[in-house]
């Protein structure tokens, strides 16, 4: 009987775990295709795009008349020689995307670099929080865009104010969520580590940081969204390149289809960047992913 136990107790070889996960993912995908879900989602898009097309270009409803139509925008977007100079094939389109993405990346990195440590300290040491959090909480409610004039005063040129605004939004979101993350760590983990002889700084490194990680990544995802929010505003007010700038100038120069191109691109790039953050989170916190996957 003990032979039965020894053989079964040995955990199955990890390779099987890997293969099993891939098989399960493939199976889930097949089930998703078979289910009505993707087709209904497509129906949703068709309905919205269809209404937009009909309202503007076919029925020409009041108010919709002046708007850029679906077909017009699509033709502009995919033409080799776009009327207003911006389409998939013009390098300028990618220059603007790059300008915006670079600004968000720069501001997001800075916000993470400053926000996460500050959040960890705010959550970990009560003294530090009692001194620093009141000022933090006083500045946080001020709408990011109210900082625009001050940003222009404080920073020379047109580039740094935009970066500052984008940074500010992300910074507050990241620091706050990191702090909440530290506070939400189950106290028994901290106590267990102290029982096992860990000194305070070891508790910080081995318990507080990994324990707060899930909330840190929630914060980072919000921070990316907020970064794009304030980037657009910044670029509209004082930018020279970037998607916000494109949208604004397209409006002033009556290049309406380009407005829509700008908006859709912003949506897509914004979605991609937050997906990137989600993936990084999932990869860094593998122990969580396994929790839902393999636990029998």
């Amino acid at each position: 009987m003990s032979a039965v136990i020894e053989r079964s107790l040995a955990a199955e070889p990890p390779a099987a775990g890997q293969r099993e996960r891939v098989a399960r993912a493939a199976h889930a995908l097949a089930a998703w295709i078979a289910s009505p879900r993707p087709w209904l989602a497509l129906l949703g898009f068709v309905l919205v795009a269809g209404f937009w097309h009909l309202a503007v270009e076919v029925w020409k409803l009041p108010r919709f008349a002046g708007m850029p139509g679906l077909v017009a925008t699509w033709r502009e977007f995919t033409s080799r020689d776009p009327v207003y100079g911006l389409s998939l094939y013009t390098p300028e389109y990618y220059v603007h995307i790059l300008a915006s993405v670079r600004r968000v990346a720069e501001a997001f990195a800075l916000a993470t670099l400053l926000g996460v440590p500050l959040g960890l300290m705010l959550g970990w040491s009560r003294g530090f929080r009692e001194y620093v959090f009141p000022v933090f909480e006083m500045l946080r409610p001020i709408p990011i865009l109210a900082w625009v004039p001050l940003a222009i005063l404080m920073f020379s040129g047109t580039e740094s104010p935009v970066i500052f605004l984008t940074f500010l939004a992300s910074f507050f979101a990241t620091a706050l969520n990191t702090m909440l993350g530290v506070e939400s760590i189950d106290e028994s983990y901290v106590r267990a580590s102290r029982c096992l002889g860990a000194r305070p700084w070891q508790v910080f490194v081995h318990v507080v940081v990994p324990g707060a990680l899930p909330s840190i990544f929630t914060g980072l995802q919000i921070s990316v969204g907020v970064a794009w929010f304030s980037l657009v505003a910044g670029e509209m007010v004082s930018g020279e390149a970037g998607l916000g700038y494109v949208i604004n100038t397209s409006y002033t120069n009556v290049r309406y289809p380009t407005i829509v191109i700008g908006m859709v691109t912003l949506g897509a790039v914004g979605y991609a960047t937050s997906a990137l953050v989600r993936l990084a989170g999932r990869w860094l916190m593998r122990w969580r992913a396994r929790e839902h996957g393999d636990a029998r």
């Binding site: 009987m1 003990s2 039965v4 136990i5 079964s8 107790l9 098989a23 199976h27 029998r296």
Partner: protein, 287 residues
Amino acid sequence: MNGAMQLLGVAKSYGEGAARRPVLEGLDLDIPAGRLTVIIGPSGCGKSTLVRLLAGFERPTRGSVTLDGRPVGGADRRRLVVFQESALFPWMNVADNVAYGPRARGVRPQGWRPQAAALLERVGLRAFAGRYPSQLSGGMQRRAELARALVNEPEVMILDEPFRGLDAMTRELMHAYYADLFEETRRTQCFVTTDIDEAVFLADRLVVMSHAPMRVREVIEVDLPRPRRAADVLASDRANDIKMRALTLLHEEAMRAFAGGSRAAGDFLAAYARRRAPAVPTPETRA
């Protein structure tokens, strides 16, 4: 006397194709009217699936589930469930929770109000009628849930490990409460648990289930006198024999469950295998 339920050749599996997971195969089970049937089996053997089938939340893949001979439809008030974690509506106070069933069915207040008040009194919660569930202790929540079910006068009560998670003392007092309620109402009860002492104390009929596929391994008639008192059951040799019999059956099932790869039983056998304990130091000899 109605309220007899029967499962004939019931099979249930989840998922399709490669991921099909059969949980039940060809299960035959009798739940006689007016008696307290306790169902016990190793964890992970499909007891919760059985509860969902009896309650009508799910349909069997094959076979039939009948109440007094008639096949069971969806969930309805003739077969009410008390879940493992409380399903009291957190946003309603105790009184509204208890009154929910009759009100939802449009029964006139004169029809249920006196009985609801009596039930609240009976479970000792009249003073807490205005409280929200989150303001009650575990034991009090369970009593409120029993009252909420009983006010609808179900023919069968299905309980899925309702007292798990309560501390042992509250559990003991809840056992007494529940047994008295049963002896008063004599409604058919189907009580699912993994706790042997709870099973022996409560049951008229103890059904020990096998593991994967879940089948009736043995039915033990618990002919202890009623009303049951904890002290008497503890002292009774008959109760002790029943407990030993059930324990042995369950250990054998755990052995088979382990061969089926169930992790929970795996711990069981891993520890159980090394019964040959080493020579033993007692604290006194060494100090």
